[in-house]
């Protein structure tokens, strides 16, 4: 193997690689200085970074960096800053009564905006983005509330939930009168006819004899929860059967399904997930939503 002699190209002044392909020679052009410069710059930067930020593993621990930066502390600080910024109005919502906040137009404007976001993130999945609910999930804008419609009641319901995992949860259950054989099939049809007639006065599509017979069955089986006037009982979460607001549907077949198979709705507790402030904002948001604004 011949010793390769560096050969300088006379035109560019650079060395060649010494190879020759059919008379063509390859220049060995040096890397431009700017590239060296930026390469050195990135090395210098990384040395600074190693010193300032968490970087090197040291067996069972690692270098923490002079700046002491920790992503977890950063997010905690930014959450605190945000809470601090909002404290101008959050303090008032936390301490003032529902009535006082409701009469303050500026606070209520904030409640509508913040409440909308909170509702969208947490409640809208079941109750709908417009709070109008859907089959199986209550409409929150009608003003008929299973567990009481005062702001304090709504606040408490959001806190403990319904048939939830919270120790103080609201517990409510509509028994399965048909499936569990508490009433024979014919009696179920009679009492369903009666219940249907309550919210559909003057309806011609049910047999008046069955309605009349259902009245007695209702008195014997249903009044304990729904009341003699069938207007429900917020202590037990028993719905008013005389209005047109139905969670599971108010036509004959839907009522029949409910009486036959029972119902047990479930609302999660929000105590562990949302702060008392957030829950109060949501309460005010809902109370405001059912009050038609001029």
């Amino acid at each position: 193997m011949a010793v390769e002699q560096p050969e300088r190209d006379s035109y560019t002044g650079y060395l060649t690689t010494g190879h020759e392909w059919n008379g063509l020679k390859e220049l060995n052009t040096p890397v431009p200085r700017a590239v060296y410069f930026f390469l050195i710059l990135t090395f210098v930067f990384s040395v600074g970074y190693w010193v300032l930020m968490p970087a090197w593993p040291l067996g069972v621990t690692y270098t923490k960096g002079l700046l002491g930066i920790d992503q977890r502390n950063l997010v905690a600080a930014s959450l605190q800053d945000a809470a601090q910024e909002r404290s101008v109005w959050t303090k008032r919502i936390e301490t003032e009564s529902f009535a006082a906040i409701q009469s303050d137009a500026r606070l209520m404007a904030i409640v509508r905006e913040t409440g909308h976001t909170l509702f969208g993130n947490n409640c809208a999945a079941c109750h709908g983005a417009d709070a109008k609910g859907g089959p199986g999930f209550p409409n929150l804008t009608t003003g008929s509330w299973l567990w009481g419609g005062k702001p304090e009641d709504i606040f408490n319901t959001i806190r403990v939930g319904i048939n939830s995992t919270h120790p103080d949860t609201h517990v409510g259950q509509m028994p399965a009168f048909g499936r569990d054989q508490m009433l024979p099939r014919q009696d179920v049809i009679k009492v369903v006819s009666y219940v249907y007639s309550l919210s559909h006065p003057g309806a011609t599509d049910v047999d008046p004899a069955k309605v009349e017979a259902g009245k007695a069955i209702f008195a014997a089986n249903c009044v304990a929860c729904h009341g003699a006037d069938a207007k429900g009982n917020p202590e037990l979460g028993a719905p008013n059967l005389t209005d047109r607001d139905w969670i599971y549907g108010g036509d004959f077949n839907a009522i029949d399904t409910t009486v036959w198979g029972g119902r047990q709705g479930h609302m999660p507790t929000w105590e562990g997930r949302l702060s008392a402030l957030d829950r109060k904002i949501l309460t005010l948001y809902l109370v405001d939503k059912r009050t038609p604004r001029p």
Partner: protein, 247 residues
């Protein structure tokens, strides 16, 4: 430059160059990954953490089978807006029993790391059956067949065994009773239900997840899994509280 002189000489030796490339390319991996085996400060302690029950593990397998991870992440990052929206940021220890982890890399739907017990079982069933029934603007596909497909349980013990091979502390008792426990967890009134509580702890949720107490469907497994996400340990809640108190 002598450094380049060295490189010129190296370039002429094929095997030497290959070895040098492997050596240099592995530095990044060694520095990033190897220390995780010795530095335990980066993973929090969660002594109270429980393992997935067989039913929840079956649900996890369905989650993987249906590719849920392609649209849903299970990783809340340390960013203010994520903590505001989803809850406490995810900790490494929370994925301790996830083989493989399902952190995901893209969110077409929301993050699910803290979805457990956020919504009711009825909602999950209605949503899985047809997402548009409860969320009109949803683009999620419907998974209605989960409600009618019987869950396969005969191989659950083997799934538990496989998990034990990679470090999940399932006991022989758990493995032997896997199929029975899967059935009992979705039938709280069955006499077998006590066994689930005994083996997996009092905090285990026993419910007819799909609303049909007599049947064990894939929907039972799926909802059981979704309802336990973020609830195997409360280490994250504690850690956020500590950080907010400035400790």
């Amino acid at each position: 430059m002598s450094l380049f002189g060295f490189h010129y000489r190296l370039e002429r030796k094929a095997i030497g160059l290959t070895l040098a490339i492997i050596l240099v390319a592995s530095i990044g991996g060694l520095v990033e990954i190897a220390p995780l085996f010795t530095i335990h400060q980066t993973v929090e302690d969660a002594p109270d953490m429980r393992v997935y029950t067989p039913l929840e593990l079956a649900g996890r397998n369905i989650y993987i089978r249906e590719g849920c991870y392609a649209c849903h992440s299970q990783m809340i990052r340390t960013l203010r807006d994520e903590v505001d929206r989803y809850g406490p940021y995810s900790l490494a220890v929370e994925s301790k029993y996830d083989h493989p982890m399902l952190w995901g890399s893209k969110r077409t739907g929301p993050d699910l790391a803290r979805i457990g017990e956020k919504y009711s079982d009825q909602w999950h069933v209605a949503h899985m059956n047809n997402p548009r029934d409860v969320v009109p603007v949803s683009v999620m596909p419907a998974y209605g067949w989960l409600l009618t497909t019987e869950l396969r349980t005969d191989d659950l013990g083997l799934h538990l065994k496989a998990m034990r091979r990679v470090g999940v502390p399932y006991t022989d008792d758990m493995i032997a009773n896997a199929a029975v426990d899967a059935y009992a967890q979705s039938n709280p009134d069955s006499p077998l239900a006590d066994g689930v509580t005994k083996r997996y702890g009092k905090a285990t949720t026993l419910r007819a997840f799909d609303g049909q107490p007599g049947r064990l469907t894939e929907m039972d497994a799926m909802v059981a899994y979704l309802q336990v996400l973020g609830r195997l340990t409360d280490a994250a809640t504690k850690s956020t509280a500590r950080a907010e108190a400035g400790q």
